[in-house]
């Protein structure tokens, strides 16, 4: 079984899924903030993207940038097959862990 994903990694991967063809750094940053309902630093998101890509969970490609970016390239991300599997396994594991738990957690559980 693959290593389970952390909450932040899941958020980034799910954002890439949700954004489909528009999943580039800035859009992912904003989407992750919406998902987690809190401010998230750009450094944390880009470091996570780098890590996920190094692990083969996401793929990226460069595209030309707009004038607002001073012509700087955009990097678009897609979730790789390995990433989908990791998400799926993480979801299964979390569902299994929480299956018999009723909130608020009862004493002696």
């Amino acid at each position: 079984m693959a290593e389970l994903l952390g909450t932040f990694e899941q958020s980034v991967l799910l954002s890439i899924f949700g954004l489909r063809d528009e999943a580039y750094g800035r859009a992912i940053l904003n989407h992750v903030q919406e998902l987690l309902q809190r401010n998230v630093s750009a450094g944390a998101v880009y470091a996570t993207l780098e890590r996920l890509e190094a692990r083969g969970l996401v793929l990226s490609r460069l595209a030309e940038g707009s004038p607002a970016r001073g012509g700087r390239a955009r990097r678009y991300y897609t979730v790789a097959g390995e990433g989908e599997r990791a998400l799926s396994e993480t979801q299964k594991a979390l569902t299994a862990i929480w299956k018999d738990v009723q909130l608020p957690i009862q004493e002696g559980l």
């Binding site: 580039y24 750094g25 800035r26 940053l29 904003n30 630093s41 750009a42 450094g43 944390a44 880009y46 470091a47 780098e50 490609r61 460069l62 595209a63 030309e64 940038g65 707009s66 607002a68 970016r69 001073g70 700087r72 390239a73 955009r74 990097r75």
Partner: protein
């Protein structure tokens, strides 16, 4: 009517460009610039947008700092600590103005400058030419630290703070000497020059 052209703080952009690996440089700076111009500036105004930009740049420091060697990392922590202490000492000397304060304040500012240079060199991997000056800095730190330690050890009144600072200066100087020969930069990923 001449329109003013707003842009993120140039120094912060340049800092970020130095900090990031070649692969991420264009992309990240472009993303932050786009968010600044299209979202932050219209919604929050110049000052708050600038602060947002600087905060985002700062968030990359722990993530993308190029320091890789364990001893270099310790040196960075020591340098930050000494920088804060010496800035505080220089400020106090200038406010209290006890006899001979000029020399002590100057010494504190000198040590602070060495710490700042160490931080910049180790984190951003600036030119090796700058590192040569750090050899002199390391010698100065060891000299000042050693003198302060001996003075504290033989003083009538034991001052724990002075001993701690002097030991930090000594260790920092030694770490600088050890790490100066080591590269601060991790192996960069290959630079992508083509799109697609």
């Amino acid at each position: 009517m001449k329109m003013s052209v707003h842009a993120p703080p140039r120094w912060a952009e340049r800092f970020l460009e130095r900090l990031l690996p070649a692969r991420a440089r264009q992309v990240v700076v472009g993303d932050l610039r786009e968010e600044y111009l299209e979202s932050m500036l219209p919604r929050r105004g110049r000052l708050r947008a600038d602060l947002w930009f600087i905060r985002q740049v700062a968030s990359f420091v722990p993530q993308f700092s190029r320091e890789v060697s364990p001893m270099g990392k310790i040196l960075l922590w020591f340098s930050w600590f000494t920088l804060v202490c010496t800035c505080w000492l220089a400020l106090m000397e200038m406010l209290l103005r006890h006899p001979g304060f000029e020399l002590r304040a100057l010494l504190a500012i000198g040590v602070a400058a060495i710490c700042m240079a160490t931080i910049v060199v180790r984190m951003l991997h600036v030119a090796m030419r700058t590192e040569r000056w750090l050899w002199l800095g390391a010698a100065l730190l060891i000299g000042v630290g050693g003198e302060a330690f001996l003075h504290s050890a033989t003083a009538d009144h034991f001052e724990g703070f002075a001993v701690v600072i002097s030991v930090v200066l000594l260790v920092q100087g030694i770490l600088m000497l050890i790490t100066l020969g080591q590269p601060a930069k991790g192996s960069p990923r290959p630079l992508e020059t083509t799109l697609g």
